[in-house]
């Protein structure tokens, strides 16, 4: 179970007309199975780029990404969650959730359909399955988006600032919600965020990146596992200690 996901000496450069930009420089880190890891860093440092690499949507210039011992490719089963829920407004919640099954030609697979139904029931969206996204609140839409990825049973879940489009109150409760679903479903997850408290409240470890070209600056292990909900974790005295630590790490960048 050790080193479920491995990023080995990853470098990536962008090519533009003006020249070559080194975005990532020798990134190394591992993620264990069922672990929740967050990546924080100054804006524009390439956090999302790292997720795209793990998702196989981009290719690194140097280094390799291994998931469960295999090299990442376009066909690797990963789940991706974005800043916005990206539900298709012309599809009902049920059909939105099933889009992944359609893509993978599993729309007639009874087991998968049962799994979808179970997830919808378990997380309170079953009675809204025939509603359209515009009829649901922001929090419920984000939950639907999470179920859409979970029903494909991804090997790893990538979260790209999934709460930043929500207002503060909603953000806290949706964050709690998503965290509990991910823990219950025993998912391995990587969260990218610029919000230090969000990172600390949900993660087992926080990876701090430097500004561009991004390197891993430090990795903080967050020892708040005994407290279940992210919201409660925010009240722990250790929480502010971690916050200070990471804040200073990031601050020394400027």
């Amino acid at each position: 179970m050790e080193n479920y996901l491995q990023l080995k000496d990853i470098s990536l450069s962008y090519h533009t007309k003006e020249g070559e930009v080194l975005a990532l420089c020798g990134i190394n880190f591992n993620v264990e199975k069922n672990e929740f890891v967050s990546i924080v860093g100054p804006s524009g440092c390439g956090k999302t780029t790292i997720l795209s690499l793990i998702a196989g949507l981009l290719k690194s210039t140097k280094g390799e990404v291994l998931l469960d011992g295999e090299k990442i490719s376009k066909d690797t089963n990963i789940g991706y969650m974005f800043q916005r829920d990206n539900l298709f407004p012309w599809r009902t919640i049920y059909k939105n959730v099933c889009i992944g099954l359609e893509i993978k030609h599993k729309k007639k697979d009874q087991q998968s359909l049962q799994h979808v139904e179970d997830l919808l029931k378990k997380y309170g969206l079953y009675e809204f399955r025939n509603s359209y996204p515009s009829q649901l609140s922001g929090g419920m839409r984000q939950r639907a988006a999470l179920i859409r990825t979970l029903c494909l049973k991804p090997k790893i879940l990538l979260l790209d600032e999934p709460f930043s489009a929500l207002d503060y109150q909603t953000k806290l409760s949706v964050c709690d919600d998503v965290h509990s679903i991910i823990t219950k479903e025993k998912q391995t997850a990587i969260l990218v965020t610029h919000d230090i408290s969000e990172a600390i409240s949900v993660s087992d470890r926080v990876i701090v990146l430097s500004k561009r070209p991004a390197k891993v600056k430090s990795i903080q292990t967050i020892d708040l596992k005994n407290i279940e909900s992210p919201l409660k974790r925010r009240e722990s005295p250790k929480f502010s200690k971690y916050f200070d630590l990471i804040y200073r790490e990031l601050g020394s960048e400027k």
Partner: protein, 272 residues
Amino acid sequence: MKNKKKIINYSKEHQKYLKKIKVDKFTTLISQVLLLVAIVGLWELLTHLKVLDAFFLSSPSRMISELIDLFKSGTLFYHIGITLYETLIGFAIATILGTLIAIILWWSRKLRKILEPYIVILNALPKIALGPVIIIWVGAGTSAIITMCILICVVITTLSMLSAFLECDEDKIALLRSMGANKFQILIKLVIPNALTEFVSVLKINVGMSWVGTIMGEYLVSKAGLGYLIVYGGQVFQLDLVMASTLVLCILACIMYLFVGILEKKVRKHKE
């Protein structure tokens, strides 16, 4: 969810507000009808009193009697049928063809880049200038008229649909790609349904454009149809025929527009 009417006791202020909206809607409608009646009435009156010359301006009563004559001679629906046929065929072919070209251009970035200047020029070109060429190439007949109609609609359809396809949210494309979707699946599941509202707008534009194309085509070369009646009426100085045909054209375009309007309502329902 929203089709159940709620029975709520509104406050007096709200009742007042609702009433105001109703009155407002009603007065607008009344004014619209009155305006039409006034124009038609004035037109009729002034030509009747010989203040205006009915020979140059025709008059509502003369238009009606012209239409009745056409109807009695059995040619009214013949001409309507011909023009309607040309317009609908042109409209359908242009819409389908334009959308298909847009799909191909969306698919191939390279082709899009190569063809871009040609499409821009084709769009700017007044298509009527190609009239003589069309007649020589496809022959002087219905096919020339339909070709003219297609030519006028197809470029704008292609351009509008292509921009709608390209406007598709990058995040949504990335989402499908992260699920392992191929380009065809992205097209079918996302890009095309996403462009549906734009497609209806294109239909709306094409309703107008296809009538322009067909009538223009009929001006150039025709033996029957409403455009033919208008040209013929003009040549023999029969303004009643010109005006009556124009009136019929107005009504037909209206009906076609209404159909697209109904379609639009259905499509817009679930758009954010």
